[in-house]
Amino acid sequence: MAGVQVANVSRSFGAHKALDDVSIDFADGGFYALLGPSGSGKTTLLRQIAGFDFPDSGRIAIGGESVERVPVEKRRIGMVFQNYALFPNMSVADNVAFGLSVRGEPKATIATEVQRALDLVQLGKLGGRKPHQLSGGQRQRVALARAIVTKPRVLLLDEPLGALDKALRVDMQIELKRIQREIGITTIFVTHDQEEALTMSDRIGILRDGRLVQEGPPEEIYDRPESEFAATFLGDANIFRGNATGSGIKLPDGTTIAASTGASVPAGAKASCAVRPERIRITTGAAKPDPANANMLRGQVSKRIFAGNNSTYFVDRDGQTLKVIVQNTGAERLAEGQPVVLSWSPDSTVLIAAA
């Protein structure tokens, strides 16, 4: 088991910069998500760490050992592929045994280790089956058992749950997390699903156009996004753009929005503010100024989407549509077209420097 250090890694394919000076530290035993839209470079980064492809420049170390020119078969990593990539001609047990067998381990050792790995993923009795006789979720578990049976230093997962349906995905998320905790292996997990990244990982790295946009624990990125992209890609956010005042921003129409978290931007410079939809209070009638919710805007409900435990209101305000999520507390619901007052705390407002 070991940590992984990626330092200033760049990789181009022709004129396309797939990775542009990416540095990221994966601490020993952590569960990391690499999150980004397609084409953001997250899979390219995973393939550099795995050793399927080598960076043009930069350094990659596993457990302190430089590996950027070491081919995959010598890196002692475990990898789970999006489509599982189980060997169709081999039984489940032979699939899991493959990594030990190419190393020339004795047969008895292989048999014990394979059984242990299959038990860990709760497939102890299916060793004799062929991959095509398994369900999607079971194949996923076999792929995982095969990747960890060799006791790799790092476990790499390339959108491993992408091919499963929603209910099975949630099961596998919990299962994957349990197994990862049990063996304590450093795990790097590529996904484009922000919910998956939020619920599963200790830390998230957000990538965009080959660059690392932000990296940190899920709570930190969610509560204090450093860019409009991070704010809107991980969760939903209302973005206001204007000029910094020193304690917030001033919108073009003169309204000021106070922000007490986020970047410090010199007064006068272009800046934006991000507010999560669930942090905004929505009220009707004349609102009294409230120091706890000092930011206040007037608008008009344009649409309401009811989702059982909550409702999303779309509120039009000066050409901008704002999103507000209100928990279903039994309070009266607002009708479309109704004038409303939106208010929220400066503590819930994140100041972001213009890119």
Binding site: E73, M79, N83, A85, F87, N89, G99, V102, R146
Partner: protein, 262 residues
């Protein structure tokens, strides 16, 4: 519906006609190989004399062994070389790959008469001349494109992640090929081998150009025998060849479902 039944009847009649057209000459030939009269006279009188006299025809037997040996060696060489070539074309990007791939196919379309003439001239030019070695080289060259086409078609259904998965588990290139890739393309390799065997064993034109009296293959020998005067022995040997060839083709169909999953 009356019309449907008429159409169905017509369809059946057509299939019977087609099968008759394809197989009637062969069936008659096979039947005559067991008929006592050397002049195809009826009534039919059962005999295995022609098969027995075939057994005493040393020239024909020598040619048969030549054909079998050449076909087997051709199969081995072209299957190994062809499969290796297919793997290389599948795995690697290199300069001139497209040109090379394009150049592989025309030999299948070029008339054997022309290929045979060209080989004869070439082999004389480089000092190999005619004979069994020349025939063998010619057959390997003819069979290679078939093997490459068939194995490459099978490789198209191979998921490259399988090789990556094997490598991530620590397998070197040799282990990856032998334990993951080869088992997957095996039906294609076997089918390619059977094609190669058929191309060589059935080959007349190129063999005719490259053989010398005494160093010849079965099809050429049969042709020579017919020119001298027809005997039912030829029926007998042809029947044997047909049975063997059909068995091979059935095997091919069994092993290779043209790119489909096994």
């Amino acid at each position: 519906m009356a019309t449907t039944r008429i159409l169905e009847g017509l369809g059946r009649f057509y299939i019977v006609l087609l099968l008759g057209f394809l197989y009637l000459p062969i069936i008659i030939m096979a039947a005559m190989s067991f008929n006592a009269s050397p002049f195809y006279q009826l009534p039919f009188e059962w005999t295995t004399d022609w098969y027995q006299s075939l057994w005493q025809n040393d020239q024909l037997i020598a040619a048969t062994w030549n054909s079998i040996e050449i076909a087997i060696i051709t199969t081995l060489i072209s299957t190994v070389l062809g499969s290796m070539a297919s793997l290389a074309l599948y795995r690697y990007e290199f300069r001139g790959k497209k040109v090379l791939q394009a150049l592989l196919f025309p030999p299948i379309a070029i008339p054997w008469l022309i290929t045979g003439t060209a080989m004869l001239i070439f082999f004389f030019g480089v000092g190999i001349g005619r004979g069994l070695i020349a025939i063998l080289l010619g057959h390997v060259a003819l069979a290679l494109p078939y093997v490459i086409v068939v194995v490459s078609a099978r490789l198209q259904t191979f998921a490259p992640e399988l090789e990556e998965a094997a490598r991530s588990l620590g397998a070197n290139q040799w282990q990856v090929t032998m334990r993951v890739t080869l088992p997957w393309i095996m039906p294609g390799v076997i089918a390619g081998g059977l094609f190669a065997f058929a191309v060589s064993f059935d080959q007349f034109v190129v063999s005719y150009f490259l053989s010398t009296p005494g160093q010849t293959t079965l099809p050429v020998e049969i042709y020579a025998a017919i020119r001298k005067g027809f005997t039912p022995e030829i029926n007998a040997v042809s029947t044997i060849i047909i049975v063997v060839s059909m068995a091979l083709m059935l095997l091919t169909a069994r092993f290779f479902k043209f790119g489909g999953e096994k």
